[in-house]
Symmetry: C2
Subunit: 294 residues, 2 copies
């Protein structure tokens, strides 16, 4: 029985969005920060990262329930990073997905602390999950720190900020996106594989796979900022050009960027051929990432 990736995303998004607030709503903490954390967690988004955790469990025919808490932990980390990135001292954004950003609603101090709270809490979701084996929990936390910390997402955000309004080489651009975007996206895939107890050879292939998928995701992002529809994206297009940001199309030309995107997708799909299980759903994810319009 084949499942369609769009149906999969819709149903899992619903599942994640039901589970996510429950990890925060019962915390004994001041009302203001609880509301602030919940506000950003509930602000929507594609929920692609948590869906990927579940997609890997699905691929390895394991119960998806054992991935819910880890999937939510990743979404919390993604959310905290958006809250901090939107701060006036960083990207200074007033809107996120068409809604006022966290600090616009709750003030800067609460936004900083809500981010800190989400980041800290995410680790509890993993280690306090009774459904997961001890050794897998430890591996997840270890990999998560590499993906989300100074050697991953946080380092990528630093490089991104420092590269603003500078002309970057392809190598520098690659560093930013590998770290800022691809590593946490990649951790979602890895986490699902670890939870599914996939063979180690598969996990190593999936590590490579997730690199290609993560970079492809970002190239598509850059293309959409030029060719996308404001309605579908829910945000203005053309901001990269306006801010003189180095992007894949600005270095490689639009044609070159599209070829590079296709090349990463091809390599990702090639890797899937070598896994020990059937991978239709992951192949569909590749196409979705290559063709997404939002």
């Amino acid at each position: 029985m084949n499942i369609n990736v769009n149906d999969f995303l819709i149903s899992r998004k619903k599942k994640i969005e039901e589970a996510l607030p429950l990890f925060i709503s019962d915390l004994s903490t001041p009302q203001s920060i609880k509301e602030s954390m919940l506000y950003s967690l509930k602000a929507g988004g594609k929920r692609l990262r948590p869906a990927l955790v579940l997609a890997l469990l699905h691929t390895y025919k394991k119960p998806e329930d054992i991935g819910i808490a880890t999937a939510c932990a990743i979404e919390m980390i993604h959310t905290y990073s958006l809250v901090h990135d939107d701060l006036p001292c960083m990207d200074d954004d007033d809107l996120r997905r068409g809604k006022p950003t966290n600090h616009k609603v709750f003030g800067e101090a609460i936004a900083v602390l809500a981010g800190d709270g989400l980041l800290t809490q995410s680790f509890s979701l993993i280690v306090d999950d009774p459904a997961v084996k001890a050794e897998n929990k430890l591996r997840l936390v270890s990999e998560l720190v590499k993906a989300a910390g100074a050697e991953g997402m946080v380092g990528g955000q630093v490089a991104d900020m420092e590269g603003e309004a500078k002309s970057l080489s392809l190598e520098e651009l690659q560093y930013i996106h590998e770290n800022k975007t691809a590593k946490l996206l990649g951790f979602s895939i890895l986490a699902g594989a670890i939870l599914a107890e996939a063979p180690e050879e598969d996990i190593e292939k999936l590590r490579e796979f997730s690199y290609h998928i993560g970079i492809a995701f970002q190239i598509r992002d850059d293309i959409l900022d030029i060719e996308g529809s404001q309605d579908k994206l829910g945000k203005p297009v053309g901001s990269d050009t306006l801010n003189e940001k180095t992007t894949y199309p600005s270095i490689l030309s639009m044609q070159g960027a599209k070829e590079k995107l296709q090349d990463h997708i091809k390599q990702a799909k090639e890797l899937l051929q070598h896994l020990s299980t059937k991978t239709e759903l992951l192949e569909q994810f590749c196409d979705l990432i290559a063709k997404r319009d939002h």
Copy 2:
């Protein structure tokens, strides 16, 4: 052979300060954030929290080496909280221990990200430590999230900010200090006991002990802000009064605050009597906290 608490603190502070930068200096991350993280980690301080981890191992006659990484993790979390608390949107402090605060040197954006990086990395110190058993690692991470996150230090900082320039009840003041200060201090004690594999009954007693010690620590802080010496503290005194902050002396009078401090110390020492091991060093810690002048 008795050890003197002051000698203990001096020698362990040295050990911690040698180990601490090593967890950051080899990370593959942009130079700016690496320098920013190291700047605040190296900014000094009493290193009381990490020393308490080692003091518990000493008390239970276990090798202190198994506590070094966890001790450093706690100091990283303490450090990140100072970096974020000093931000313009929070306490807006220009100086910390007589040196320019992190954001004054590296800018606000890097300071936010350095804090995020330290917080994230701290979890790796615990889970990637080959000297610690898997089940103990998981217990440490779980307790650390409770102590440092929205249900602990982060929640306490929110309550502290929201209580500024308001007149607080003793209960509200207690909430702030229990969460903002006592819980992470308490985690240091708990972590040492977990690593030492102290009997569960001892661990429960030490949980109570650490509450009294944490509150006593804060009462002493409030007293020092009135009666302390600027030279010894390395910061101006009288700032609480100036900022109309509610403190233990402002609610209870100076005499009442001193009595409350003594009462917590007495209860802490009483609890030590019921542990399964000799506790001279911890008794000395109690006296040190009650009488410290900086």
